[in-house]
């Protein structure tokens, strides 16, 4: 249940919350300041260059990905979500965990796996060459490869909210539809699907933004989108950074349009607010003979997006080790990865706490402005955020320090942590805080003894989420890391971009393994929250 509409105006925002929110907002606004400075400073010759540059081509490619990835993800997620929540599919729980797991695989690892397995001289071609004499298979470089890898690692962003919404739908609605003469399919189309609209809209937005920001997969598969072009321009001397900034501006415009479109559908979707008191479980649809195609579908998804990548990695890891690759280097980058991810998780959650409290507990202009600014990390790719941080830090003592890297992660991942803490705060009925006030505690005492302890679950899942995405993060880590500071992500990147595939396999496997730990925590928490809601709604 959500209590957003009960925000109270009478309380003054506690000073700590106020000051820290403003400070953090100013800090995370740095990329916008940078882009403004660059754009204002750009002379007409830069703009001419931008227009002469292959900008339109890049925009077209980016847009193609931004449109097709959410669509393909929906095609995968909708049947999966329905099968794992509303039917008598065997081993439902296992399927739900396995189909969510590709979230831990970074896009560049999936792209790398595709290259070694499917490229013109890759494993598949060689396997087919000797028995069948097949010399050529369709190229996976370019659009199709990018589409497949970005979809593979981002479709769970749609799957998870769809599963949650499907579980939350009041079963009596379906029963009403059946009693009025509609069958399973017609009921799904007319009753269930409309209620999934908010989840589809917000999940698709996340995936569209992910496609817009992705860098690893598109650059390995040589599909030049904005992020890849910006990176190349950044590396180009003489005016390259000007063009990089101009391209970033265009990308920001794309991202803001997407977010605007989503919020427009959301305001319409308000009608469908999740039904309350649906403590009863819905009857499961009996699949009957359809069980087999359903199992085949789930199996294909899991094999394609989880089993195959891991097997290919395992094969190359063994090949690498037997060829004498040293594992020594991998350990130090693993330690580095864990170190920065833990630091990022702690710092981002601490920074997110006052912002989450401000934006969920207090209305007013400050709260609205801060809320908008936290989305910067969703709107801009790591590459743009890193460039702007470098612009301000270069020449200062901060340049090439761990602190600067963590700061980059803060801007990038703040919205994730704020979102997860806000969700848990919105589950707290404001009457709890009023009860505390009426029992003699001040606003800030109430925050310490009631609000913060009750948002603990949100903080833990926020920290797990930030740990997970920091482990995978590539662009900011490449640009902001201290010299000679290698993480698992950067060592995989260096190895694959130089085509040392065997060298990339061990760190890739380790990265997936380490990222699975926070993912498990997240899955357990999401599962627990559902149970908690069941308990509280039956009271």
């Amino acid at each position: 249940m959500f209590y957003l509409e009960l925000k109270r105006k009478i309380d003054r925002v506690p000073l700590v919350v106020w000051v820290s929110s403003i400070l953090i907002t100013i800090l995370i606004a740095i990329p916008l300041v940078y882009l403004t400075i660059r754009t204002l400073g750009a002379g007409p010759e830069t703009w001419e260059l931008v227009f002469r540059f292959r900008t339109l081509e890049i925009a077209g490619r980016t847009l193609a990905l931004v449109i097709t990835v959410p669509l393909l993800s929906l095609g995968i997620s909708l049947p999966l979500a329905w099968l794992t929540t509303r039917t008598d599919l065997p081993f439902k729980r296992t399927w739900s965990v396995l189909t969510a797991l590709p979230l831990v695989i970074p896009s560049y690892i999936f792209a790398y796996v595709m290259i070694v397995a499917l490229s013109p001289r890759g494993m598949l071609q060689q396997a087919l060459a000797s028995p069948f004499g097949i010399e050529q298979i369709p190229s996976i470089y370019g659009f199709s490869g990018a589409l497949l890898s970005v979809t593979a690692v981002s479709y769970p962003y749609l799957l998870l909210p769809l599963q949650a919404s499907l579980r939350g739908i009041d079963p009596s609605l379906e029963e009403a539809s059946h009693s009025l003469g509609h069958g399973t399919f017609s009921t799904f189309k007319k009753v269930i699907l409309p209620q999934l609209r908010p989840a589809i809209a917000s999940g698709s937005l996340l995936i569209a933004l992910y496609s817009l920001r992705d860098f690893g997969a598109v650059s390995l598969l040589r599909y030049e989108t904005f992020t890849f072009a910006i990176y190349n321009q950044y590396l180009t001397p003489f005016g390259g950074r000007m063009i990089a900034a101009a391209l970033s501006m265009i990308l920001l415009f794309f991202a803001l349009s997407l977010m605007f479109a989503e919020s427009a559908t959301r305001s319409k979707a308000k009608f469908y607010g999740s039904a309350k008191g649906s403590s009863r479980k819905a009857d499961l649809v009996k699949l009957g003979r359809w069980r087999w195609p359903a199992l085949a579908f789930c199996g294909t998804v899991v094999i394609l997006f989880l089993v195959l990548p891991i097997s290919v990695l395992g094969y190359w890891a063994l090949r690498g080790i037997s060829a004498g690759e040293t594992v020594q280097v991998v350990w130090s980058s693993a330690v580095n990865s864990i170190q920065v991810s833990v630091m990022a998780a702690v710092i981002v959650v601490l920074a997110a706490l006052p912002i989450a409290i401000l934006t969920s507990r207090f209305s007013g202009r400050l709260s609205q402005v801060v809320e908008k600014f936290t989305y910067i990390g969703f709107a801009l790719p790591g590459i743009v955020i890193s460039l702007s941080i470098v612009f301000f830090a270069v020449g200062t003592f901060m340049y090439q320090t761990l602190g600067l890297l963590i700061f980059g992660y803060l801007i990038l991942f703040l919205p994730l942590a704020v979102g997860s803490i806000r969700n848990s705060l919105l589950q707290i009925n404001p009457s709890l805080e009023e009860a505390s006030r009426s029992l003699g505690r001040t606003a800030s005492q109430t925050m310490r003894s009631i609000t913060i302890p009750l948002s603990r679950n949100g903080m833990i899942s926020g920290a797990a989420l930030v740990f997970l995405v920091t482990m995978k993060e590539l662009q900011a880590t490449l640009i902001l890391s201290p010299r000679n500071f290698d993480t698992l992500a950067t060592s995989i990147w260096h190895a694959t971009s130089e085509a040392f595939f065997a060298r990339a396999a061990v760190p890739a496997l380790l990265l997936i393994l380490l990222s699975s730990i926070p993912m498990m925590i997240l899955l357990i928490f999401w599962h627990m929250r559902e149970n908690y809601e069941k308990i509280s709604s039956s009271l």
């Binding site: 009925n429 009023e434 009860a435 505390s436 009426s438 029992l439 003699g440 606003a443 009750l454 509280s536």
Partner: protein, 348 residues
């Protein structure tokens, strides 16, 4: 005379251009229970929030225990010594029963523990101290919420629809328990409900609110028998109205005969006469004045709807052995000793 627990003077609260509370004046003396009743949206919850300090009024004054809390400077909720029992109880889910009750007590540890034990035995949950809120039934949560609000010994206790989350049969039992606890602690209480039965049962005094105003505050008996206007008459109990004219000799003339009237409306005035379903007897006769148009079986009684020649209808409760068919003619007798209540005719 007892000390004043809470007093509101010309209290007004607007949300935008709408009045939520409009020119409210009342005083509650220590140890009394005031039940505020009214339809949803009448402003009763806003009035509670004004007293507890979660809203600030546009105009007017509030005194708690004789001290002003809004006139010159705004006293925040935590300094008002107002206890609240919320509709959803608002027990802190991360604290056990003991910790919930102890939350508002600011004394030293030993005295605090003693107070918690007192409160637990007051609500009859001595062994529940270490349970968590979600392990309790609705009625138990209710009592813990009450104990928590009473523990710091507040000047005034506010209860906001505290029984609305309970099942109907549980509700009647719990409300008498709660009333017992409140009377035992001699608490001063404002109790808000939309249920007239609950208001009549709980209140030493009953206040009826409508559109932000308190229309009438009186004892439960007086508010039932002598409502100030047709709204109160309708809201507390069931009432029908028939037209009449005041006669000279303490009676009012109506189409069902002359009825006893001891009010002070002038003679010849056209009035609306309030008739409650339990006032009258009906008998089936060949050419009676009324016609039965509806009959509802209520177990012990039949509720009849009777149409009069003017077209007005009256509802009446008759013992279950008086069964008349729909369409039959009946005469209507009112107890001549029973004085009726008349209002000036609204249509004039």
């Amino acid at each position: 005379m007892k000390r004043s627990a809470v007093r509101c003077k010309n209290l007004t609260k607007k949300f935008g251009r709408n009045f939520a509370v409009r020119d409210v004046n009342f005083e509650l003396r220590e140890g009394n229970i005031l039940a505020l009743v009214g339809p949803s949206g009448c402003g009763k919850t806003t009035l509670l929030r004004l007293i507890s300090g979660f809203e600030s009024p546009n105009e007017g004054e509030i005194y708690i225990g004789g001290e002003p809390v809004v006139n010159s400077k705004f006293v925040p909720p935590e300094k008002r010594e107002v206890g609240i029992v919320f509709q959803n109880y608002a027990l802190f889910p991360h604290l056990n029963v003991q910790e919930n009750i102890a939350y508002g007590i600011s004394t030293k540890k030993e005295r605090r523990n003693k107070r918690v034990e007192e409160m637990l035995s007051l609500i009859g949950l001595e062994d529940y101290g270490s349970k968590m809120p979600h392990e309790l039934s609705g009625g138990e949560q209710q009592r813990v919420a009450l104990a928590r609000a009473l523990a710091p010994d507040p000047e005034i206790l506010l209860l906001d629809e505290p029984f609305s989350n309970l099942d109907a049969d549980l509700r009647t039992r719990i409300r008498s328990e709660v009333r017992g606890i409140l009377k035992k602690t001699d608490a001063s209480v404002i109790f808000v409900t939309h249920d007239q039965d609950e208001a009549l049962f709980m209140g030493d005094g009953v206040g009826v609110m409508d559109q932000g105003r308190i229309i009438q505050i009186d004892s439960p008996e007086d508010i039932f028998h002598f409502p100030k206007n047709p709204f109160v008459a309708n809201f507390i109990g069931t009432a029908d109205f028939i037209q009449g004219t005041i006669n000279d000799e303490d009676t009012v003339h109506t189409e069902i005969g002359d009825l006893s009237y001891h009010g002070n409306l002038p003679s010849n005035e056209t009035v609306e006469v309030m008739v409650r379903p339990d006032f009258m007897d009906v008998e089936q006769v060949e050419n009676g004045v009324g016609k039965v148009v509806d009959r509802i079986f209520r177990g012990m009684h039949y509720l009849y709807k009777i149409q009069l020649p003017s077209g007005a209808t009256l509802r009446t409760l008759q013992h279950h052995n008086k069964k008349y068919e729909i369409g039959s003619k009946v005469t209507i007798h009112l107890d001549p000793e029973h004085s009726v209540v008349c209002f000036q005719d609204r249509s004039h």
